[in-house]
Amino acid sequence: MNSKRRKVLQFTALVSFMAGSGLLSEADAAEWNKAAFAAKSMDDVMKALGGGLPEKSDAVTLKAPDIAENGAVVPVGITTTLKATNMAILIEKNPYMLAGYFDLPDGTEPFVTTRVKMGQTSNVYALVKADGKWFSAFKEIKVTLGGCGG
């Protein structure tokens, strides 16, 4: 085995060992919110997330295409002028509405982009939590090829 490959394997082994034995500090991840991800309506999602129903706000911007070429990979971004502590993406017509939930500690910009699966044409909601209250923006994204496996 050449020495470079050996070095990589040794490093990988060391990191794996450290991660496995808890020496690498993986900062505490918040408990996965099972209830929120099992919810089928916005009411139920918000009940599980806490903070009440979101108020529609121009201060929240949802960046997403009007038409999703591929429902399995739809880019969705949220930005806001509010001092956001959390963000969430909800897809109305998906089997479970909540796609993702994000924590933004102090010093982190109010910005997130990811890619989601959409089963069919649906309203997509960008939620922003600021000062303990939720705000939202939404748009309809048309999907020609559903992304949930149907």
């Binding site: 993986e26 991840a29 739809v74 998906n94 479970y96 993702g100 500690p105 982190t108 982009t113 149907g150």
Partner: protein, 103 residues
């Protein structure tokens, strides 16, 4: 252990832009196999990013996050050369931690 993530972190005017591309099937639990049985859900649930011991981002993913999850977030308070450490955990308890240097 799962395949490594790709982490790209760049600093500009004090703001660090982080892009992460993870390798994960993110099975939604909605698909059926050839025999008609549901393929069970299997997806990343939690993700945490830290820099210099401080948490800079955290996420909870549901099954609707796309396969090979992509994440882009930004933060302030670190410098070129610092390392962004990203860790995720999935529904099977599988974990992955990778680092990317801010350039």
């Amino acid at each position: 252990m799962a395949d490594p993530m790709r982490i790209r972190a760049t600093e500009k005017d004090g703001e660090i832009d982080v892009k992460v591309l993870m390798k994960h099937d993110m099975e939604s639990g909605q698909r059926k196999d050839a025999a008609g049985a549901i393929i069970p859900a299997w997806h990343i649930t939690n993700l945490v990013a830290t820099v210099n011991g401080k948490q800079v981002f955290a996420a909870q993913f549901g099954p609707a996050i796309s396969k090979d999850p992509f994440l882009n977030f930004k933060f302030k308070g670190a410098a070129k050369g610092d390392e962004v450490i990203v860790s995720w955990e999935d529904t099977k308890g599988d974990k992955r931690t990778d680092k990317g240097k801010i350039s």
